[in-house]
Symmetry: C2
Subunit: 191 residues, 2 copies
């Protein structure tokens, strides 16, 4: 019953090379032809696995989206709001740092923003949920603006080539620090 290598093998390879090419030439700078060539197949073969190019970019980004999704759920489970914010910020920064390349890539891709807006699975905007946790219930304008600045700032700075030289630990530490300052969370003593 060794049903052999899963049929998804090609699909997975495809996503791998796609990511590599995206990182190298940008999303819009990567054609289906390039992906096909890199895989040694034809464009049409690529189309067998993905109906559209957007579907490829979304699939490449999906692991990150999933993590983010899960993070929001987890964070929301805390009873105290402070713990919610802490959990969310820590997790978000960690996610951004680990997926730096992805973040940089897709922050400048029109398609991905659409995907994030409508969220991964179909449930409406978990981006609102993110902001909701950071800004608190019934937030005033200041809280909302602060939450947005914190979230977008951390993401953009984390993905920026200007900070690419920093190792993960340093970047993570700095981003959490600036995030906590912004959101009014107490300073942490770091070793």
């Amino acid at each position: 019953m060794t049903t052999a290598v899963p049929a998804e093998d090609t699909r997975t390879r495809l996503l791998g090379t796609a990511l590599r090419l995206f990182a190298e030439h940008g999303v819009e700078g990567t054609s289906l032809q390039m992906i096909a060539d890199a895989l040694g197949v034809t464009k049409a073969a690529v189309y067998y696995h993905f109906k559209t190019k957007a579907e490829i970019t979304e699939s490449v980004a999906e692991p990150g989206i999933r993590e983010l999704d899960l993070l929001v759920v987890e964070a929301a489970r805390h009873r105290r709001r402070g713990a919610q914010v802490d959990h969310l910020l820590d997790g978000f920064v960690d996610l951004v740092v680990r997926h730096r390349v992805l973040v940089a890539l897709f922050s400048s891709d029109p398609g991905i923003n659409r995907a994030i807006a409508k969220s991964a699975h179909g449930m409406e905007g978990f981006k609102d949920a993110l902001i909701g946790i950071l800004a608190g219930p019934e937030p005033d304008v200041t809280a909302r603006v602060t939450a947005m600045v914190a979230l977008t700032g951390v993401a953009m700075a984390g993905g920026s080539p200007d900070l690419a030289e920093l190792d993960d630990e340093t970047l993570r530490h700095e981003l959490i620090d600036v995030g906590r300052r912004l959101l009014g969370r107490p300073r942490r003593h770091h070793d």
Copy 2:
């Protein structure tokens, strides 16, 4: 000597309609054909005024880039660093708020980022100059990260549709406020 209507008239009209269409369908969602049709001319006519589509998007964004450029120069003229930061932050927020639509549009356009990176006229990256002023001379990592988060956060939040409901004055006030908090500038008393 009424040398008549400048030849740039069409060029200007073109940039106007281009901006309108960009705002409506996004940059990549707007073809040269659409622009040509909206103007009542042919694609080739458009191509006469601009050698490439990228040139159009850059020209549309240029006024903003110029302002930003000027702002950096002005800010750098202050002797005290505090005054430099204040000037830059005020000006930057004002610019973002006034050009909200542009900011939203081009923050997700790969082409514009390239344009900003290499700067308008040819002098290399004034983005570095921006960060340089905010982070100060010989900045440590924390200062650099903070400056980046502040700059990108303000820009993204300012251009975000999520805050589009806010009127200019409110948004400006809130962004300056959060910016000052981040950059460690003293609170201002607002009326």
